[in-house]
Amino acid sequence: MKFSEKLVEKIIFACAAVSAASVALITIFIFGRGLPILAKVGPVAFITGGNWSPGNEVYGILPLIAGSISVTLGALIIGVPLGISCAVFLAEVLGKRQAKFFQSAIELLAGIPSVVYGFFGLIILVPALRKLTHAIHADSGATGFSILAGAIILAIMILPTIVSMSTNAINAVPLKYREASLAMGADKRETITKVILPAAKSGIFSSAVLGMGRAIGETMAVMMVTGNVASLPTGIMSPVATMTGTIAMEMSYATPTHQQALFAIGIVLFIIIMILNGSAQLIMKKLGGGTESA
């Protein structure tokens, strides 16, 4: 009896440890396969090299990093203001029942697979951007596959994260701040912009950081609309290749060394994501406690 209970406890512990073991295995295998080429090329040369040309065994991922960052920043610039605005609308304008409906609708956005977003971008957004640029510059050679296309699609994809976390942060602002502001004759808009949003800033900020992590890690939708050209972008209509897109595109035909280089990109991506997610959690913990008085 006692023994079987102990055994059960051990098995259950083992199950809990599977997640941790998986992270360890993931780390070991990604690093194990990517480190050799990092060592050979040199980590600095790998990251700052401006030329990604696997056919000639030249591996510099600066264009890919630039691609990922430009698309991600674009997504934040579009998505964060929209998300906060939606959150204000949800938390402050809509009634409870309508807010619930709206929130479910936004959650539907979160459930749509990224390949569907990519497909939509490919069929609708890219041609639209192509027509738009040609209307402005008749001789523009832009194809529509661009940073802007990636940024717009990603902005839609990170919107649910930003809206739901910001709404929670706004709803968590103590009623007493709202009362104090209104009691002084501030109107609702002033109360929101000057008291409530500042008080909710840690939640809003970490939603943006998490959205950033999601955007930089996103693969399918981005690679279907950004054009996958591994060169440094010159404007928002430039086509770019991202780190994730390059891994997914090239894995199927890569030579062994090329494969190693793709795993090395995985290492860089992994580290960036860890830093972003780690800081989002830290922000939540550090600032989150600071809004309440002792």
């Binding site: 701040y177 104090a180 502001s181 009691a183 002084m184 004759g185 008291v195 008085s293």
Partner: protein, 255 residues
């Protein structure tokens, strides 16, 4: 002597409902300028609810409905075109729990004036100094105006909230049990402050503490289950109440 004073608020036949529940019944009371009016009574008797209808904070409560006539400076504050923002500017409020914003001391005080259109830096600085001096906090905090208000003690926070309220230059200050979250020393400081403030402001204070009402107020209203049983000079209420229930409550037989 009270009949000589001007009336700040005149309340006639006021009823208040939360949905179907009637929380206040047929209230009739006058609140005089530059008086301290204390609202006393057992918990849940409606005194805070009443207080919060004087600056229409009950508008925040869903399903809350008010009937009757509530006049401030002779105007019906529940009239359709009455400007609620001006009302709240003129009728300030201090809450039970000190509720400074999570901003600096300075920012807390200039919040109201800025909302109401004061932009001049010098004027704002003057307001901060004047109001902090009025609440006796200047000496304690003048060297850390730009630190977070949340670093202050509970009593200091409450005085800051009073200063914040004074900064918009109200005529009336509503206080909802302002000392119930404070220790005795901080409480006596706030009480002394109220005595000073009443030379310039009309004060309405809800309190659980009978001695406090007796010490600081000029007039007292006794609430019981949503009704005002008696309202009169504090002296009279505490020495010779007209209503038997009032006497029982004051002498501590229930509540």
């Amino acid at each position: 002597m009270n009949t000589m004073k001007k009336k700040a608020f005149e309340i006639r036949d006021m009823d208040l409902y939360y949905g179907n529940f009637q929380a206040l019944k047929q209230l009739n009371i006058d609140i005089y300028e530059k008086d301290v009016t204390a609202l006393i009574g057992p918990s849940g008797c409606g005194k805070s609810t009443f207080l919060r209808s004087l600056n229409r904070m009950n508008d925040l409560v869903k399903g809350c409905r008010i009937e009757g006539d509530i006049r401030f400076d002779g105007e019906d504050i529940y009239a359709k075109d009455y400007d609620i923002i001006t009302l709240r500017k003129n009728v300030g409020m201090v809450f039970q729990q000190p509720n400074p914003f999570p901003k600096s001391i300075y920012e807390n005080i200039v919040y109201g004036p800025k909302i109401h259109g004061v932009r001049d830096k010098k004027t704002l600085n003057e307001i901060v100094e004047r109001t902090l001096k009025e609440v006796g906090l200047w000496e304690e905090v003048h060297d850390r105006l730009h630190r977070s208000a949340l670093g202050l003690s509970g009593g200091q926070q409450q005085r800051l909230c009073i200063a914040r309220c004074l900064a918009v230059e109200p005529e009336v200050i509503l206080m909802d049990e302002p000392t119930s979250a404070l220790d005795p020393v901080a409480t006596s400081k706030i009480e002394a402050l109220i005595q000073e403030l009443k030379t310039k402001y009309t004060i309405v204070i809800v309190t659980h503490n009978m001695q406090q009402a007796a010490r600081i107020s000029d007039r007292t209203a006794f609430f019981l289950v949503g009704e005002i049983l008696e309202v009169d000079d504090t002296q009279k209420i505490f020495t010779n109440p007209a209503n038997k229930k009032t006497e029982e409550y004051i002498s501590g037989r229930f509540g």
